[in-house]
């Protein structure tokens, strides 16, 4: 049974949809890719040119764009799983901050090596997420509430662990110094062009895409979000899947926190504020339905890159930050409206 669970658990009316809606559905499915293409074209057309080079397309600039979104991008990959199950995770930004603080503390104050630190931090992140998933399923609480509480708890823990201080990471051998190899997260490889943080994001996105699209777990995630009751009746371990997706966002947030600590050589209890909203925006723009059951990882990645490219283009043209917020807001609304239109045309009851 499980192997034939449909990837897109659409409501009952399959087969009666008029052609026009399919086009709309396709457009929505790929809205973020289309959006990214539009922003890129805009980028090329409106990019300032200096010394005969289109700045927007300069390899440096592309690297800048992807580096800037690597942390929220990693989180958005995790968030896609959660939102496909019709859930939400608001704790990710705070968890990033907690993870950056833990990473810095373990390496600098406690003197742990690289591997034990990375393992512990990612495990703590995954466990934190899993605990939220468990509380949400066990007590049938809205994930909105549980993860809102989780946000506060993670932020509080970060403040406690850091003792209200920024924890700077210095590198070297000896007590109080982090292993120099960790600094690689802030470096750029291949002739100083490709930021390592970007590579982590790309690796995360590739693995996320494979897991979501080709594994049984991925199909279960869609099934739980599409119709939880049906999924349960078909033998899908619904609670386990739900707990797992929160563990994934926890793991993703911890990874982003490690990348943050490595890129910026510090752990801070004040960082990552608002990252949950940026990540959710990327997912929604990417065409994943907040009602669950439908979504795409490639869409999320394109959504995240699009937001980054837009911010970059606006700065290159010296357009003020307020407009950037307005543009992002408008794009999110547009994405949501498109999804709602599709749902209505499909005659879905959700």
């Amino acid at each position: 049974m499980s192997d034939s669970t449909p990837q897109l658990a659409t409501p009952a009316s399959v087969g009666k949809r008029p052609q026009r809606v399919d086009l709309l559905a396709v457009a929505v499915r790929f809205q973020s890719l289309i959006g990214l293409a539009l922003v890129s074209v805009g980028g090329i057309v409106f990019s300032p040119v200096r010394h005969g080079q289109i700045l927007f397309l300069a390899p440096d600039n592309i690297a800048n764009i992807i580096r800037a979104i690597s942390e929220t991008g990693i989180i958005a990959v995790g968030m896609t799983f959660v939102i496909i199950t019709a859930g939400i995770d608001l704790s990710v930004g705070a968890l990033l901050s907690l993870s950056s603080v833990l990473t810095a503390t373990m390496m600098v104050s406690v003197g742990w090596g690289l591997l034990p630190t990375l393992l512990t931090v990612t495990l703590v992140g995954a466990a934190f997420g899993a605990a939220q998933g468990l509380i949400s399923t066990r007590f049938q609480l809205e994930p909105f509430i549980v993860t809102l509480a989780g946000l506060q708890v993670a932020r509080g823990l970060a403040l406690v662990v850091s003792g209200n201080q920024y924890i700077n990471i210095s590198y070297g051998d000896g007590p109080g110094l982090a292993p120099p190899i960790f600094a690689i997260l802030g470096e750029r490889l291949f002739n100083n062009t490709v930021p390592v943080a970007t590579l982590v994001f790309v690796a995360f996105a590739v693995i996320g895409t494979i897991v979501l699209n080709t594994t049984r777990f991925g199909r279960y995630v869609f099934a739980v979000g599409g119709n939880e009751r049906a999924a349960r009746l078909s033998g899908v371990p619904v609670s386990l899947i739900k707990i797992s997706v929160y563990a994934i966002t926890g793991f993703a947030s911890a990874t982003a926190g490690i990348v943050h600590a490595g890129q910026f050589n510090f752990g801070s209890a004040n960082d990552g504020t608002g990252y949950e909203l940026t990540a959710i925006a990327a997912v929604v723009i990417g065409g994943t339905s907040l009602f669950g059951g439908a979504g795409s990882m490639i869409g999320t990645v394109a959504g995240a890159v699009m937001l980054g490219a837009l911010a970059n283009l606006l700065q290159l043209n010296n357009i003020n930050a307020a407009l950037q917020l307005l543009a992002t807001g408008a794009i999110i609304v547009l994405a949501a409206v498109l999804q709602s239109l599709v749902r209505r045309h499909e005659g879905g009851s959700r």
Binding site: H51, N61, A68
Partner: protein, 331 residues
């Protein structure tokens, strides 16, 4: 981390003056050292990028306004301001974008020191002079970045403390302190400065001290609680103007006449200068923006082809009290 050009330049300076220590020695080397930038000219066109830490803070908006005004006076300069929005990742990407744009000079108020250090190093490596405004990254001015211009938080708060000890409470009394975001450097420096400043008067007691994270609403809540616990508080020192505004609301709410000291001395209808002029606060101590000094330095680097600039410029504070507030409020 290092710009090789810079090292070479330093070496030149060293050769000229064996006592190469600080700015004086660098000035001595200026006769033979190369200009700080490759392209400089009186009639050139230059883009200056300013990576601001967070536009949402009124003080930083004040800096932006001052910078825009100062840059406007120089027709050769185009100023671009990027808002880091209080996020080291955002600010890093903005610095990277400025490097891609090949701006002629980078001004930066780093949101935090260590995280922005690599980005500043990249700019220096790309041959872009970096003037740090108000906040520093790690390393040494003149080597890891071109120069630092800013106020001295400790000294400003020290003056506020001394003012409290000698003018507001010569006979002593209870004092409360509202601190900024606990982990941030300026919060710590202002806290220590004020405490050291009031030490001269042993009859002054700091009875309450709490962090309100620079925010007026938190300051209001915190100070209301302080007044409950210590009804005899005579003076409250707020580490910025916004918290002083919050403290005023709390004092009014409690029906207490507490002397309030702010910090930053912001202009405008909601700023500290007006509050002092109207008699709501006892004083505020300006935190200078350094905007004029920064643009002047940019002029000497980009227009006058300076080979050296002073690497550490401290802009003094101005005490705003009942005596001068009314005259300043119009400016």
């Amino acid at each position: 981390m290092n710009s090789t050009r810079w090292i070479e330049q330093r070496r030149h300076a060293m050769q000229v003056s064996a006592l190469a220590a600080g700015a004086l020695a660098l000035l001595a080397g200026s006769a033979i050292a190369a200009p700080l930038v490759k392209e400089c000219a009186k009639d050139g066109k230059f883009i200056i990028g300013f990576a601001q830490a967070n536009n949402a803070e009124p003080y930083r908006q004040h800096v932006n306004d001052d910078l825009v005004a100062a840059a406007k006076a120089v027709p050769q300069f185009t100023l671009q301001i990027a808002d880091g929005a209080g996020n080291v990742n955002t600010q890093t990407s903005q610095v990277d974008n400025f490097i891609t744009q090949k701006v002629d000079l980078l001004l930066i108020s780093p949101f935090e020191a260590a995280p922005l250090t690599p980005a500043v190093a990249r700019a220096m490596k790309a041959g872009i002079p970096v003037i740090e405004l108000d906040r520093k990254t790690n390393g040494d001015p003149g080597k890891d970045y071109t120069a630092f211009i800013g106020g001295d938080n400790y000294k400003i708060a020290l003056e506020a403390g001394q003012f409290t000890a000698s003018k507001l409470l010569p006979d002593g009394g209870e004092v409360a302190v509202l601190e900024g975001l606990p982990s941030s450097t300026p919060a710590v420096e202002r806290l220590n400065g004020f405490k050291d400043g009031v030490k001269g008067n042993t009859k002054i007691k700091i009875v309450a001290e709490q962090a309100a994270d620079w925010l007026p609403d938190k300051a209001q809540t915190a100070f209301a609680a302080m007044l409950q616990a210590h009804p005899d508080i005579k003076v409250v020192y707020a580490s910025n103007d916004m918290m002083a505004a919050g403290a005023l609301l709390a004092a009014k709410g409690a029906g207490k006449d507490v002397k309030i000291i702010g910090t930053d001395g912001l202009p405008g209808p909601a700023g500290g200068i007006r509050a002092v002029a109207s008699g709501d606060w006892a004083a505020t101590f300006t935190y200078p923006t350094g905007a004029k000094e920064a643009i002047d330095m940019a002029k000497s680097i980009l227009l006058d082809c300076a080979a050296t600039v002073p690497t550490n410029v401290t802009v003094p504070t101005l005490a705003i009290t009942a005596a001068n507030a009314k005259a300043l409020v119009g400016n």
